[in-house]
Symmetry: C2
Subunit: 306 residues, 2 copies
Amino acid sequence: MKLGTVEIDGAPRVAVSADAESVVLLPSEFADVADVIAAGPGAVEVVDAARREGARVAVSEVVWLPPVARPGKILCVALNNSANPDRIMSGPDTPAMFVKPSSSLVGHGRPIRVRESFGRVHPEPELAVVIGRGGADIPVGEAVGHVFGYTIMNDLTSPTMRGEDTFHYRAIHPDPESDDGIRYVDSWVSYPARYKGSDTFGPLGPWVVTTDEVPDPHTLQITCSHDGVLVTDDNTANLRFSVAEVVSFASEYMTLEAGDVIAMGTALKKSAKGGAVQNVDLTRLGGVIEVSIEGIGTLSNPVEKR
Amino acid sequence: MKLGTVEIDGAPRVAVSADAESVVLLPSEFADVADVIAAGPGAVEVVDAARREGARVAVSEVVWLPPVARPGKILCVALNNSANPDRIMSGPDTPAMFVKPSSSLVGHGRPIRVRESFGRVHPEPELAVVIGRGGADIPVGEAVGHVFGYTIMNDLTSPTMRGEDTFHYRAIHPDPESDDGIRYVDSWVSYPARYKGSDTFGPLGPWVVTTDEVPDPHTLQITCSHDGVLVTDDNTANLRFSVAEVVSFASEYMTLEAGDVIAMGTALKKSAKGGAVQNVDLTRLGGVIEVSIEGIGTLSNPVEKR
């Protein structure tokens, strides 16, 4: 099934896709998709009842919210695209991740609000996983069983702020040979809170599609377009680390919780006609940015000056 | 007042400091300090009633939880100590931040669980701010009014995992002069989810001390000791960016919410007798790591092999 969180008369409600043009609403005690996850197998009956008896609302009328309002954590995998290994001189052979704050999330259709001072801001079209059953040290073979469904994240990034929040510094390393027990090592370190986590830098949704409707998350076409012009055209087959590998690896370090979101990393391959996402500077260009994933949906957001 | 979250008969409760040796409990509808913040000025009466009528519990009997169980976000300021400017060859002249997931939090007294595979893990003793009133674009002059109180964060860090999750790569930059509109720029980028956010990497507490009892958060002695041996001895006067500056700056980018936690950055000055925190490799040494801040309390956690 396809689930989303919408705003009706100022309150959040869960919507279930009924057909191409309409949704039905779950009872008001379900405030977001996380509440459906928490209800476990009992949610199936609630959804069935809503489909039978619920009033239909036109999709075009709906105001979308992020499907999960306040995930315990939003993990994002960096540089997870096999299309560009030649760009990496050195890096880990395991998934590298950062955390976006839940305050950065916005729903489908809501504005991405940029400021001149943000510098360049570009889109990153990504498949995202919503965790259904938490856990730590989840084996790769069991990892997909912990996934509730798939959604879309536009992992907005300001390379300008990334450059600003990068330090070239002398890190302190232990050195038993030296007088004071330390030595300085020339290092670089960058901090992503601002450049990845500013308000509206996390468009998410509109739909969470449950795993039963996505038999293989690694065969999905993913496209990004700006004002209707194709920017990237890629396939989740090009992800370097799979959903199962990322869920398992993350859970070795960070206990996963129901409702956690993991964005799988950017599809970066240039389309034949398009350019690099890095060239789509939303601060300068404004417009509407759209990410589509086969079988999952389309996430579209207009850009607004803040 | 001093507030903490404790576990009583398996359920979380809010404890208020009564005297040096005992606490009183708030009614069970307060599950953590965030609920006290949400109650607003009305919480004062509840606290007064508990102090008059509540049963006292010996501090020594208490099992501590993180004061806020699930902050909307945990922001941490990097390299915010004026004692070591000579270590930084280049970096921002504004606070650089990263996000720790709430799953990394543990209470006072709870074990820090390390694995051999984590490599080196060192403590970082920090003053932390708990936001009382949210907001965006908060002016510096009003920022302290948005703070509910102060607590202690031990911002555990694995420099081994930091090294592993650092990429040396060719970043794609726009270049209108080139054929394909881009050029490659030799860059470094590091991702902190694992090295800053692994389970138990965020000891927090035990107390949140309300701002009325901390007239100036920039005059507080802060010490860190390992198995009773002093490691660092510093003062919050050495923070480069003040609480007001950090709260204001963060809120320009990320809307702050009540219950958000901001760790102010590490006191790094070596004590006369101690060494660098980087030399206290908890993976190798085990033991008990303790952070004390004048007027706030002492946060102590044993290290356990996982």
